[in-house]
């Protein structure tokens, strides 16, 4: 969002290539990205890319998106300084970007509002989506209800159980939730099933992809719609502290909230970018979702990126206490940021995340999503490393209401 009262600009949306990391014509970020999909889907992907290209430079589209972000999603979201939490982080100045305060409770609403508007421009009446934690499913169901679109959500059966509350929310919002019972019954299998639906119903249906992964143009479109997080935060940091932060911390599953807050800072070379993946039970246990930290380059869900795979290219099932980070792939732009050295990626175990989850609740009265708790745990470590002079911006990507079942079990509440 530009200045108060003015509308979102095309530069807010895409950064206009200022950072040299917009994908090329084939959707490549260096060697990453591209399209590895059945030929049947190519025309639909081309259509989405072309409609988006027109929309992002169309004042009418930007005005409509801006209006929904302000009056429906509740943007701009505020920054909150958390000194009591910061005491535990080596005294560093910790500032949260409060995406948890958006409508539906997580940053996912930004992307779905943008893509739901695109769906209308595509002339399609039905949206499908995959969901892990259920946040993207809830956000999609919300946007579909708002804009009068039919909505079908694919969700791994295991995740349906872990996130029963979100399943009920989606149903209440008028969506059909289809539990996916094949494979690991989590996010990756929900994505497979959504692709199968899409190739069958592509004439009437837009696949409202929920993260910065998948075939081109999804990594670019989802990033652009999530980018508002960092655009706002950059301006707000300058207002609040008079300077840019020393570091930014964000959780990385597929990577949309992280790219959303990182992207506007990529040109600010003094701002360190830190992504935190789900370490599950730890690297040595083999039960984790450390795609960038411990994976290898391959192709998953239509894109070349880092993947958890065995020596013959079979996907290895990931593990995390947080359904939203439980994914064996990652967005290609993160792969590019990692290899170029511009961003650094680390693992946070289930235990470390749950400790940060509880700490933020007790010290600041904010219950974060377990996904976001990985970024908070990262900030605790980083603050201790950098000391009290450091200012660290953390993307609090979602709220923890949906995680109360997990928390009750974990903490014996």
């Amino acid at each position: 969002m530009a200045q108060d009262g003015s509308i979102l600009t095309a530069a807010d949306l895409a950064g206009n290539g200022a950072y040299g990391n917009d994908p090329d014509v084939h959707g490549k970020f260096g060697i990453f990205g591209g399209r590895y999909v059945p030929e049947a889907l190519i025309p639909a992907l081309d259509e989405v890319a072309s409609v988006y290209e027109t929309a992002k430079n169309d004042v009418g589209f930007l005005r409509e998106f801006d209006h929904l972000l302000r009056t429906y999603a509740g943007r701009p979201t505020t920054l909150t300084e958390v000194p009591r939490f910061g005491e535990q982080a080596g005294g560093a100045r910790i500032i949260l970007k409060r995406e948890d305060l958006t409508h539906t409770g997580a940053h996912k609403i930004n992307n779905v509002l943008g893509q739901a508007l695109l769906t209308k421009r595509l002339g399609k009446k039905r949206v499908i989506a995959e969901t892990g934690a259920g946040q993207h499913g809830v956000a999609t169901a919300t946007a579909a209800a708002l804009l009068g679109l039919e909505c079908v959500i694919y969700m791994g059966a295991v995740d349906c159980e872990r996130q029963a509350l979100n399943v009920a929310r989606m149903k209440l919002l008028g969506a059909t939730v289809i539990p996916v019972t094949n494979g690991s019954q989590t996010l990756k299998d929900a994505i497979n099933e959504a692709f199968r639906d899409w190739v069958t119903n592509v004439d009437t249906t837009h696949y409202l992809f929920g993260t910065v992964a998948g075939p081109h143009p999804f990594p670019e479109i989802v990033r652009d719609f999530a980018r508002i997080i960092g655009v706002e935060a950059r301006r707000q940091m300058l207002e609040l502290t008079g300077a840019l932060p020393n570091a930014i911390c964000a959780a990385v599953g597929g990577g949309s909230n992280a790219i959303g807050i990182f992207h506007a800072f990529i040109g600010d070379k003094d701002v360190a970018l830190h992504g935190y993946e789900a370490g599950g039970h730890g690297l040595a246990s083999g039960e984790h979702a450390l795609t960038l930290t411990a994976g290898s380059v391959g192709v998953l869900h239509g894109s070349r990126t880092y993947v958890l795979q065995d020596d013959e290219g079979q996907t290895i099932e990931s593990h995390s206490i947080s359904a939203g980070l439980d994914y064996p792939g990652v967005g290609p732009e993160h792969a590019w940021l990692k290899d170029s050295g511009r961003a650094t990626y680390h693992g946070i175990t289930d235990a470390e995340a749950m400790e940060a989850f509880s700490l933020l609740a007790r010290t600041e009265g904010i219950i974060p999503a377990i996904e976001s708790s990985h970024a908070l745990a990262g900030a605790l470590k980083l603050g201790r490393e950098l000391g009290p002079e450091a200012t660290i911006l953390v993307n609090l990507s979602g709220r923890g209401d949906k995680d109360m079942g997990t928390a009750m079990k974990y903490f014996n509440l």
């Binding site: 590895y36 190519i42 025309p43 994505i191 199968r196 190739v199 069958t200 013959e312 079979q314």
Partner: protein, 266 residues
Amino acid sequence: MTTLQTVFAKAKADNRAALVGYLPAGFPSKDGAITAAAALVEAGCDVIEIGLPYSDPLMDGPTIQDAVHRSLTNGTRIADVFRTVEGVAATGAATLVMTYWNPIDRYGAERFARDLASAGGVGTITPDLTPEESGPWREASAAAGIDTVFLVAPSSTEERIKAVVECCTGFVYAASLMGVTGARESVNVAAEGLVERTRAHTDLPVCVGLGVGTGAQAAEVAGYADGVIVGSAFIRRLLDAPDEAAGRAACAELARDMAAGVRSHV
């Protein structure tokens, strides 16, 4: 060795379409896949596609997903896929591997092409490898002397069809419908139009797959295509049979029906 070129030339000389059968390696068992494919050849399949089981088969319907899942649970590895190819090629059928791209990418394109050629394989079908990303694979395949088959779909524009067929050798795979693999009540009417549109851009044989499950459907498709591809219908027979021998017999019966179909095209 039987090549795709000799198969299609012979079928053309006989004034019929070729019959192409698909089975995944390692299903219903490692040896069972070879004997089942051999039964298909004996019953009249000219070409066999051996599927390389992959953990995320996003183009496949429930039947192939089920078979592939069982195969992976049985511990099927790429070495088993090559052993299967070797066993099937020994029957005299032209034998291809159908695989998603990532297993080849991980194995190494040149190494995969070389090992497949050594096993007697004549080529690959790679349903998620687009022309834009296919360069390294086409080079490796050409060096190893194997064919590269890619897919066109009813949604393909003329421009896309042209780009795809320029990457194909051996034949072009025309997906009859917008959807995943699996037998259907009827073959999509769009298939014939797609074959015609494809022929405008290539002299290669054009084979139709997706949704073909009966001899009558095979006859119908043989009326306009150079080859008829059948997968899920065979796998369904194997899944439903009480044991491997019964499954093999049921597959052979269906293959004979199909083989008659491609010879009596309408």
